[in-house]
Symmetry: C2
Subunit: 220 residues, 2 copies
Amino acid sequence: MTDTPPRRPLRYERDPAAIYAQSFATVRAEARLERFPPGMARLATRLIHSCGMVEVADRLAFSPGAFEAGQAALASGAPVFADCEMVGAGIIRRYLPAENEVIVTLNATQVPERAARIGNTRSAAAVELWADKLGGAVVAIGNAPTALFRLLELIDEGAPRPAVILGFPVGFVGAAESKAELVRDPRGSEFVALRGRRGGSAMASAAVNALAAGLPEIDA
Amino acid sequence: MTDTPPRRPLRYERDPAAIYAQSFATVRAEARLERFPPGMARLATRLIHSCGMVEVADRLAFSPGAFEAGQAALASGAPVFADCEMVGAGIIRRYLPAENEVIVTLNATQVPERAARIGNTRSAAAVELWADKLGGAVVAIGNAPTALFRLLELIDEGAPRPAVILGFPVGFVGAAESKAELVRDPRGSEFVALRGRRGGSAMASAAVNALAAGLPEIDA
């Protein structure tokens, strides 16, 4: 079966600048971004671009100052906390304005023992390790509903407030509920969240990248 | 504003085993998995779990032997090639049956120069570095349509065939088209792909994790 006939070269867009321009133009054409303030429109564009779903714009919840608060936090050197390695891997380091630290504690050695002790998931236990440095930070949750729930509990227990909480846990158990709780009572933090079951690490890191740099691929 | 009234503890499921069981039960209840052969049903379950969207099952395309070919390739020690760091980060290493190598070349030093030389994206240039070791490998594309297009071109140019191609590029330019080309002519490889614009690194790594281990969270 190695004797297949020669094939014609495939036709596709190969120029990165053209790909970005066409992508973001499609988002603009389909997503009714004019409903958002300018910063949030850029964040929504990156979010939609990360998942290929224009309609997530319809389920986006946010506080009015969320974009500017996150942008200012990063500019002033605030760390970024993420609930899993995939979110960390999706953050474009060169976009971060102050070589901000990106902190993922999910695989820290003390986490399994702590999870067993507190009777919660490893994701929730990992969030407890952030408590001291949460004040003014950017928090990006792209996987575990229990991470977002535990974060809100920590704030209720007196932990300092993040500048902005990016709520994108995904799935069928607790994702919609944890984001609904964030939106219902953000506990003094600014927030962006995608309501419902959808979310994920690509969206969470896209939101961080938007706060860090907007849309430099086409704004430049 | 620090004098907020004390809040009641939040109610949510904290037991990882219960979370997995409930999640997968929801998928089973909503996704009509009986349309798939057993291996693909497990892969579809992980896929749906990774994105929170039951309806992706309706757009899943696959060759009849894809699951078994991927499973066998991993069992025999085949490497996993991924088009971006996020896919690599989502692969659960302890599930891999033979300490399989996970290879991501996107940030290799020679990639930017090679991309400029071939007039294609960095993602496409990174795929060229796989050519020698593609025979019998598992390939997971979770981000760039140009990576999937270039992979298909490489095979047309004579590169050895992967055992299975997991096609989950995402977005508005080339994602649907590259997956349609894979499904139209898989060039002798087995394949799994999500038709249309949707995809992403979480789905690509979920597919690898399914080939590696099925659903050990509930099968055990």
